[in-house]
């Protein structure tokens, strides 16, 4: 695999032009354009934009934040429409939404906005202290554990990428090495990338242990009722369960070491994604 990586990296020399195109794409943050599907937008509908590059049969979204956002919308019964687009959102992130013609980025800020707009609050039954704990876990999972996926998917199990992204193999030769290098830079900046593989595994394992320990036998993360933590927890671990190869450390953590997480994800999937097979199976 190392020689394959080296070969792919040498192709990077020729990927400069593609890289520049990618830079143009990231600059293309579209404040005022309609979705690329071209249809007239219903002003009261939430349009969730993603790149739609996921291979059929996997997950509704390859980013845990996409899973999180769509699960949240289903939990609070806010109707949404999936919209495939190449454009990155106003913050250069995906997923992003358009609502009443306005684009918005960052799943957390989007959720806060929609909470206010639609008068919903998944945490209404929680005490202040429980909300605090919920926030701590959400932040741990989103700011730390999340990067474990970055490392596993783009560095450690690089060869598995072709199974995840529905991109023609010719393009893969250009896109994957560039994206992988970008993720590596981000990992280094964030801090996790400075550790050895073993150390990263240890860090992520502790996070997953903490989540599993706190979840215990509860039906939802915080207790008997679903709360705002559930989209994050489910969104993240869905990626662990269904987008990693069997030899991956993340797969083993959720499938073997901490089975209560797998059971939790299956429950969430059944409850909020009864149309899962339809959603992941069809080509969008």
């Amino acid at each position: 695999m190392n020689s394959l990586r080296r070969h792919l990296c040498s192709v990077q020399r020729f990927s400069c032009r593609v890289h520049h195109i990618a830079l143009l794409r990231t600059a293309w943050t579209c404040p005022n354009r309609t979705s690329s599907t071209g249809h007239a937008q219903d002003k009261s509908m939430v349009y969730v934009h993603q790149t739609g590059f996921t291979k059929p049969g996997l997950v509704p979204s390859l980013t845990p934040f996409g899973m999180k956002l769509m699960t949240y919308l289903r939990m609070v019964d806010i109707p949404y429409q999936y919209s495939k687009t190449f454009k990155l959102g106003p913050k250069g992130k995906i997923p992003w939404i358009t609502y009443k013609g306005q684009p918005m980025g960052d799943s957390g800020l989007i959720m806060e906005f929609l909470n206010e707009e639609f008068g919903v609050d998944l945490d209404s039954q929680l005490s202040d202290k429980e909300r605090a704990i919920s926030r701590a876990f959400i932040k741990m999972l989103e700011e730390n554990t999340y990067w474990g996926i970055g490392y596993d998917r783009w560095q450690e199990n690089y060869s598995h990428l072709g199974q995840l992204f529905d991109v023609p193999s010719a393009l893969q030769l250009f896109i994957f090495p560039t994206a992988s290098r970008k993720v590596r830079q981000m990992l280094h900046a964030q801090g996790l990338g400075r550790h050895s593989t073993q150390e990263i595994h240890a860090i992520i394992q502790k996070d997953v242990w903490a989540a599993s320990e706190f979840l215990g036998n509860k039906p939802y993360f915080m207790g008997e009722e679903p709360t705002a933590a559930d989209p994050t927890v489910f969104g993240l671990f869905a990626e662990f369960l269904w987008t990693t190869p069997e030899h991956s450390h993340l797969y083993k953590l959720t499938n073997e070491q901490y089975p209560n997480i797998k059971d939790y994800c299956l429950r969430m999937k059944e409850q909020y994604w009864p149309d899962w097979d339809e959603v992941v199976g069809t080509k969008r």
């Binding site: 250069g92 992130k93 605090a132 926030r135 700011e143 830079q185 900046a189």
Partner: protein
């Protein structure tokens, strides 16, 4: 244990929250150490770092785990597993989310001309370093962009960090320490981050949150400072500037 970190300044014994965290932990665990102040980076390009038995180690989290094993220390021994899990969640929140506020500060506030004097005064940085910091601002911005927090506007970032602080305050409540009556590992981490906000950021919006809006946070920081940092004043007075 030879503890390597930047030297104390007038504002605070250590400018990096991870230094405050590690040193507080060493004091909580009664592990004798010798401070070796300097600006050299450790094995992972991070500070603080330690040398133990001739071996250099980086990353405060790993260092603490190593010393726990080596010295047979466990600050979390009175906690249930579920409480340990909550402790980890809070530790990671302050270290991976709230911590980036420092990057935001450097990016937006501190390197503006009107704050230069205050910054230089607090941190006792020579003019050359200030000049260098200015030029490094672009790199910091890039780092924050990559992390994600840097993509938000200043107000959004403040909002995010404010929620973190309020969450810590809610969870702490009237307890003396985060998990109960005795300090545990998460207190070292949270104190590490909050101490910077309490004592090294006087005019900022978040300083107001920690002192005025959530006074239990300031009380908590003072409590830990009084218990484990009785030599705080000595350390911060005896700095290069005064010598």
């Amino acid at each position: 244990v030879y503890y390597h970190a930047p030297p104390p300044v007038k504002a605070i014994p250590c400018l990096t929250p991870f230094g405050m965290k590690l040193e507080t932990y060493l004091r909580m665990a009664d592990i004798p150490y010798e401070p070796m102040y300097g600006r050299s980076m450790g094995p992972k390009g991070k500070i603080p770092w330690i040398e133990y038995n001739g071996e250099a180690m980086g990353d405060s989290g790993f260092i603490m785990e190593f010393l726990n094993r080596e010295k047979g220390v466990d600050l979390n021994q009175t906690l249930s597993d579920a409480d340990k899990a909550v402790g980890r969640a809070f530790t990671k929140m302050v270290e991976e989310n709230t911590y980036w506020y420092e990057g935001y500060q450097l990016q937006y506030c501190k390197l503006h001309v009107d704050n230069f004097d205050q910054l230089q005064d607090l941190f006792e940085l020579p003019w050359a370093v200030m000049f260098f910091l200015r030029s490094v601002r672009g790199k910091i911005r890039q780092t924050m962009w990559g992390h994600g927090l840097g993509r938000h506007s200043k107000d959004e970032q403040e909002g995010i960090i404010e929620k973190d602080l309020r969450a810590i305050s809610s969870f702490l409540g009237t307890k003396p320490y985060l998990m109960g009556d005795e300090p545990t590992e998460v207190d070292a981490a949270v104190f590490g981050q909050l101490s910077e906000l309490c004592w090294a950021n006087h005019d900022s919006y978040l300083h107001r949150i920690v002192t005025v809006d959530c006074p239990n946070l300031q009380a908590y920081c003072s409590r830990i400072k009084d218990r484990y940092w009785s030599d705080w004043d000595q350390l911060t007075k005896k700095t290069k500037k005064d010598q």
